[in-house]
Symmetry: D4
Subunit: 252 residues, 8 copies
C-alpha cells in the first residue's frame, strides 16, 4: 500500500465517497487470498514486478497444486522450485502448458508473457556437479525476462578453460557464479569483470566442505570487490536477484 | 588485457612494428608497480572503473603511506579503510586534502573528481551501534560517485519507525542494510521495496550473536527475494557493490 | 513432597500414629510406578497440575502403549508427542477415544475433562512448512485447557499479511511464534504486542539454516523485549509453557 | 497505532475535522524523536506499558546521556544496561536521582513511580560468579514493579542447598534461573515448581563452556516442561519478561 | 613387553641360551596375528588383563567372524559391540554359546570364565531412550567381571525418582551415568555420591541437542567434582573403564 | 543426609526425644553457612571425604578471602584454584601457613593433616607449555593425600622419551595426561598401561587447535580403552578424580 | 601455455608464418574438449604429467562414461574415483580392460603404460575401517607409477604393532597415513621417520568424531614436523600428492 | 634407535662385551637431556637430519634461553619460532651470532653450516598482511638449507599479477602458499604448476573468516590436485616440510 493510495483513500473518505468503516476494512485487508495453510499474495506480483514463486520443498503436492491454481487463475505466471517430476505431472493435469526443467528441478507455468529485460546475465559454474544449482538460477532469470548465457565447468584449477570464456564474462551485466568445494571461482571472476558477481555456494563436496559451509565462508571472505553471496544451493535467489538488477537498468 | 589489445599487439608484431621479444615482455608485465611488500595495481582503476581502495587493517602505517603515495602520484583517488586517525595524520602530511571520516574509520584522498552515478543508494541500519558499519558503506558509495540517503536506527522491534521511512526506501535504486543481533531487518525491508538489498551483518550483539554469526545466518536464510549478503562488518564491500550496480545503470 | 506433607508425617510419627519405619518407606518412595524401562509419575499430574505427556520419539510402540495404559488406568489424560498414525492405531485398540492429530503428529487421550484456562494463546507461524510445529503447540495448549487462535503463513517478507492480523495478536495473552529460515518473525511480533512471546525455531530451511540453527540464533538475539526461546521444533514445549502462563493468571 | 485510533482518525477526516493531508502526516509519523544517531520511542512506553531501557554497550557516553535526557524530559523512567560507573557519573550530573547498581552494571532513573505488579519473581543463580547476571535480572524486574526474591549459590552439585530453598521457589509466580558451566539448574528447578522458568545461560566457565554455549544448549534441551531461554548473560531480558508475565496476571 | 621380560631376554643372550638374531626377532615381533585387514592382539588380553573387544561398526560380517574366530581359538573371551542380530547369527554358527544382547547391540562369547571383580558399578540412565547406551555399559562391565546395578529413567526433572534410589547410588564404587538432552544427571549424581562418576552423553534428543553435543558439553562443564566423560553413546568405553577402576581395587 | 540419619531422626521423634518442628528444621536446613554471595558447605568435606576447594576465577579477592576464612575457622583444609599471587598475599595475612603454588596458580591452606591415600598417581604432560595444567592436577592430588609422580615433556613425536618412562607409567594406579595441540598422548599411554587414564585437554596450541577443542575431540575419540576426559585445562578436576579413585582403593 | 610456446608463436607471427587472427584463436582456445556438461582437459595430462582423474560422486553414470570415453579415445589412461561396481560395468562395456578396485571404490583404465616412479610410498592406516580410504590412496599412487607398501591396522593404542613395522616406514620416501577417531597416528609416525607424512583424516568414528572433524583437527595440530593434511576421506588426493613428490625426485 | 643398533647391542651382550644390565640401561635411556621442564632431544637432529626448533610461544624467556643453551653447546644450530625481539636480546647475550628475523618473528643461531639442499622452494603469499607467515616459512626453509624464492602480494583478484610470476612458480620444486580470507590462491596455483603445493591458511581477515577457518576449509577442499594443508599461520611447518621434500630429492 503506497503513500499515493493512502492519500487517495483518505481524500475519498474526506469527500464522502468512502465510508470510514469501508476505509478501515480496505486498510486492514490488503489483497491476498487465504487458503488456510497459505496466503497467496496476488499483490506481490504487482508490488515487486515479478510473478510469484512457490518454494516446493516442505509443502505437500496438494498444497502446491492449490497455490499454483490460485496464481494462474488470475492470469499470472508461476514458478515452482525444489520440486519433482511427479508434482509437475499433477500440475500439468490442470495446466497443460506447465514445463518441467529437469536439472533445475523447477516447474514453470507462463501466464502473461514476461517483458524482456535489458542486458545479459552470465551463469557460471565450477564443476559438472554444480549444474543443478546453476540451472536453477538460469531458468529463474530467464523466466523473469533476462537473457542468459551459460558458462559451465570452468573451475579455478584449470584457469585456461576459464580465461577462454573471459570475453563472455566481461560482456555480462551481472554474473552468477555457483561453486562448491573451495568456492574460489567468484573471487577469481570478480577480478576479471566490472559487473556485480552473485556468488552461490553449493553443497557439492565432501568431508571438510561441511555441506557447502567451506564454499560459503570462502565467498563471504572474497578479497575481490563486487561479490555478494546468497544461501547454499540457492540458485533461485541468485537468478531472481540478477533479474532484479537488470530490471533496475530497465527503469533507469 | 582485453582481446582487442591482444589483437592489436599481434598485428603490430605481424607488421614488423613490434619485435617478438618486446611483445613477450608486454604480455608478461601488465601494469602494476611492485613495492616489494605490495603490488600497486594502477591498471585496476581503469579496468574496474573505480579508484583503488587500501584495506588498512594488518598493514603498518608505513606500508599504507607508501601505497597511497604511489596511487596518488598518478592522479588517482584513494580510499583507506579500517584505519585510524593517526594514519590519517601521517597521510595528511604529504596529502593535505586527505579527509578523515571518524565513524566510518576511513581516509579518502580525492584525485580526479569522480563522475556522479545515476540513481540513489539508501543506507539503512538497525541500531545506533551499527552506525560505524553503515557509515563505512555510505562514505564508500559516495566516494565512488553515488548519491546516498541514510536511514538509521530503524530496527524491526519498532516497525512504525521503519514504516515512517518507507517512502525513502521505496525510491532507492539499491538498499544497503546493516544489522547485528538477530539480523532481521534486510528481510523486512526486502519485502517492502523492489530494489536489490545488500545485507551487511554486523558484529553488534553479545552471547549467542557469536560476533555477528547469528545475523549472518539470518540474512543468508532470508525468506524475501532480492537479498544478498557480504561479510560481517563489511560496510566497504556493500557500499562498493551498491555503486557498481548504479554504474551498470549508467552504462545501459 | 511439600513441607506441609512432611510436617504432617512427622506429627503422625510423634503421635504414634505412624511407625518410624513406615514413615521412612513413605519418605523414600514417592508415588510413581516402575515399569522397568520407565517410571510413570502419577504424582506429577497433581504436582504440576497438568496431565502427563509421553515423548514418543526413541521409544518402542510397546513401551508407549504400556506407559499410556498406566496413566489412563488412573483416569488421567495423556498426550503422546512425536509419534505416528501406527502408534495411534495400537493405542486406540485399548483406548477407543484416543485422537490422532495428523499435522501435529500427536495422540491425545482425554481422561477427566481439563478445566478451561483464562485468556487466549495466539499460535503464529511464518510459512506453510512451519505448520506441523505450530500445530504441535496448538494441540498441546488446547489439550491443557487453553483457548487457541491460529495465525498461519504471515512471514516477515509480506508485512501486510502480518499487520492484517495485528488485532488478533494484540488481544492474545501469550503468543507462540514458530518460524524457520531467518527466524525474524518473533522479533517483529514482539514489537507489536504487549504479551510474552514464546519463539520456536523450526528446522525449515536448507543450506545455511543448518537445521534450524540460524532461526534459533536469530531468536536468541532478538532486539525486542519479551521474547524467550525453546528448542528447535519444540512445539510441545511452547504450547505447554503458554498454558502454564495462562494457569498462573487463573491462580492470581 | 491501534485499530481504534485508526477508526477515530478516519471518522475525523470523514467529519471534516481533520484534513486528509494532516491525517496522512499523522499516519506517517508515529511519535518518536529523532536524535540522528537514535530514534527515541516515547510511544513505546505507552504501547508496551513499561519504561524505556537503553542498551549501553556499543554506545558512546554522550549518546547514552542524550537518549536518557530525552526520555527523562518527558517524566518517564529510564534504565541503562551494560554500562559503567563512569557513565552513571555523567548521567547523575543532570539527574541526581540516578542510581548505580554495581553488580548489575545498571543505572536506573525513576520518573513517575511504577505501579507494583502482583505476584513474585524468584531470581536464582547457580554460583557466586553468576551473580552479576542474576542481579541484572533482579534490578530490572524490580524497576518494572515486580516483587523479587533472590536465591543465590544453589548449584546442582549441592542439592541440599537448593532443596532448603524449595519453599521460596514453589511460592514464586515466575522463576528466573541464571547458570553457567553445565547449565543444569533450570531443569532441576522446573521439576520442582509449577511456575514458568526463564533460563539465562551465563558465560561463566572456561574451556568447553565456550563462553556460555554449553549452558545455552543444555537449557534449550531441558527435559523439564515450562523452561524457555534467553540469550547468554541476558539478565535484563529475563527480568523484563518476568515482569511482563506478572503484568499479564494484573490484567486478568 | 615389560622391563622384566627385556632383562630376562638379555640375560638369556648373555648366557648364550639365546642367539642374538633370535632375540632380535622376538623383540621385533610381539605376539599378534596378522589377518591382513586386521591384527589380532592376543597379547593385549594378557597385558591389559581383560578379554579382547571388537568394534563391529564399519567392519564387514566376514571380518568380524574371522577376528572372533582367532580370539576364541585361543580360549579367550570376546565381545563384539555395535553389531546386529544377523552378525550374531553368523557367529553362533561356529560358536553356539555366543549370546545376543538385544538392547545393548552386543554379542558376547565367553571363553575362560572371568574372575569376579570386587565392589559394584551402578549404571544409571536419565530416560527410556538412553537405555541402549546404558545397557552397552552394563553388559560390558558384567562381561569383564563387575557386579552391576541398574538405575533407569531417573532424569533430573523428577528428583524424587532419583532420590528414591539414592541409597543404591551411594553404595556403588563407580557410577556410570548415561543421559542425552541437557545432560544434567551426572552433575546432580556426583553431588550425592563419593564414588567416581563416568558420564556418557547420548545422542538422544533433537534440534539443539546436535546429536549429543549439548549433553557432551554439559558433562564436560560439570560443576561437581569427580565427573569424567567418554564419547557420545560410548557405553562400551564407560563400562570398560568402570571395570578397570574396580580391578585396581582388586590389585590393591 | 543419609538414610541412617533419617531413620535415627524419625525414631527420635517417635520416642518423643525430638519435637516434630525441630525435626522439620533439621531436615530443611542441612549444614552450610550462608555468606549471602556464597553458601559454604561444611558438610561437603564430611560427605565427600575431601577438603573444600574454591574456584577462584570470577570471584573477587574479598569473596575468596571470606569463603576461605569460614572453611579454615572449622579446622578444615582449603584449596583455592585459578587464582593469583596477590590473592595468596591477602589470604596469607590471616593464614600465614597458606602456600602459593606458582605454576599451578593454586593456594593451599592445610588444616588437619590429610590421610595418605594408597597407590600412586602419574601426572604426565606432552610439552613444556602444558606444565601449568599438569601442576594443577599434581598439587591437587597431593593435597588430597595422593602420592604423585611427574612425567613431563613426553609428547608423541618423540616416542623414545615417552618409552624411557614407561616403567613409571606402568606402575601408577591412575594416570593423568595433560596435552594440547593434537591431544594424542592419552591414547598412546592408555595402550601402554593397565590403569585408568584421565585425559586433560589443554588450550595449548594455535590456529585450528581452537583453544583446546582439537585436543578435547581427539581425547573423546580415543581408540584406546580406559580413557575418560575432563574439561579443557581442568587440571584440578583431573587431580581430584585421581585422588577419588585411590580413595576407593583405600576403602576396599 | 608456457612462455616458450608463446615466444614461438609470436616469432611465427613476426615471420609471417602465422596470421594474427590464427594466433589469436590459438591463444584463446587452449586444448580441451567441451562436452557441454564438462570440459575434458586433454592438455592437463601433458601439463601436469599424470593421467586425468574423474571424480565420480555427483556425476551421472552417463556423464562419467562420456568423459572417460573422450579421455581414452586419445590413448590416455583414466581413473574414476568414488564410483560403483555398476558404473564399472557400464565403462567395461566399451573398455573391457577397465579394472574395478572394490575396497577403493575406483575404476582404472590403463592407456599408455605409466613410467615407474623412483622411491616408495608407504600407505598406513590405523584400523580396519580406514582401509577403503587407504586403498584409494594406494591404488591412485600405484596407477600413477609409484611403488606402494601397505601397513594396515597399526593404531596408536597398540604401539608394538606399529613399531614392528617401523623398518618399512623408515625406508619409505613418502608416508600416507589414514586414520579416523582421534587421528593420532600421523603424529606418532612423523616422529619415527624422516620422510614427509601426508595425513588423511577419515570419517571413521561416531559421536564427537563429527564425521572426521576430530581427526582432521588433530592432524592439523600435529606436534611433529613434516605432517600436512588433505580433506577428510581424500585418499585420492593423498595418493596423488605422494606420486607428485616421487616424480619430483625423478626429475632431480 | 634403529634395528642395526639393536642388533649390534645384542651381539655385544652375546659376546660378553656388554653386561645385560648395561644393555638395559642403554635401551631405556635414549640420548636426550632432561632440564626438568623440557627434554632436549639431541638425538633428533641426527635422526631427522635437521637442527632442533624451539616453539617459543607458551614458554618463559628463561626456559627458551636454557633450551637454546643446551642445543648450541653441542655445536648444533637452533631456531626459535613465535618469539620476540626481547627474547632475541636475551639469547644474544650468550650467543652473539643469534639473528633476529623481524617479520618472521624468529631467532636463528647457526651452529655447523647447513648443507645446501637441491632444488628451489617458492614462497607465495596473497596479500601484504600474509607476509609474516610467509616469512616464517621462508626463513625456516632457508635455515634448513633450501634455496628460496619469494612471490608476495599476488592474490586471486588480480590474476595478471599472479600470471606475471607464473614462470618462477613453474620452475619451483615445491610451492608454499600462504593466504587468508577466502584462501583461494593454493587452488589456482596448483592448477598452474607441477610441483607439490603446501597451503598455509592465515588468520588474516575479519568477520566470517573466523580467524583463518574460512581459508583453512577452502584449502582442504581444493579442487586442484597436489595441495596439502598445515595449521593456520603455521609458516614454520610449511617451510620445514618444503625442506624435507627437497632433502628427499637429495637422497635419491
Amino acid at each position: 500500500m503506497d503513500p499515493k493510495d493512502l492519500r487517495d483513500l483518505l481524500e475519498s473518505v474526506a469527500g464522502g465517497r468512502t465510508l470510514p468503516t469501508e476505509a478501515f476494512e480496505r486498510l486492514k485487508n490488503l489483497p491476498f487470498e487465504d487458503l488456510g495453510f497459505a496466503k497467496v499474495d496476488h499483490h506481490r506480483a504487482l508490488r515487486r514486478g515479478f510473478p510469484e514463486a512457490v518454494f516446493g520443498s516442505g509443502k505437500t503436492p496438494e498444497q502446491i497444486v492449490a497455490i499454483v491454481g490460485r496464481i494462474v487463475s488470475r492470469g499470472q505466471s508461476a514458478l515452482v522450485t525444489r520440486t519433482t517430476a511427479a508434482v509437475h505431472g499433477l500440475i500439468a493435469e490442470s495446466h497443460p502448458g506447465a514445463r518441467w526443467h529437469e536439472s533445475a528441478r523447477l516447474v514453470s507455468i507462463e501466464g502473461r508473457p514476461q517483458i524482456p529485460l535489458p542486458g545479459r546475465v552470465a551463469i557460471v559454474c565450477a564443476g559438472t556437479s554444480d549444474i543443478p544449482v546453476a540451472e536453477e538460477a538460469a531458468v529463474t532469470a530467464s523466466f523473469l525476462g533476462a537473457s542468459v548465457e551459460r558458462v559451465f565447468d570452468v573451475g579455478v584449477a584449470g584457469l585456461h578453460r576459464l580465461l577462454s570464456r573471459a570475453e563472455v564474462l566481461r560482456e555480462a551485466d551481472v554474473v552468477v557464479v555457483a561453486a562448491g568445494m573451495e568456492g574460489a571461482l567468484p573471487s577469481v571472476i570478480a577480478g576479471l569483470v566490472e559487473a556485480p558477481v552473485i556468488a552461490v555456494p553449493t553443497s557439492v563436496g565432501y568431508g571438510a566442505s561441511f555441506q557447502g559451509l567451506a564454499a560459503l565462508l570462502a565467498m563471504l571472505n572474497s578479497c575481490a570487490c563486487g561479490v555478494s553471496v546468497v544461501n547454499i544451493d540457492n540458485g533461485f535467489g541468485a537468478g531472481h536477484l540478477a533479474a532484479m538488477i537488470l530490471r533496475g537498468r530497465a527503469a533507469s
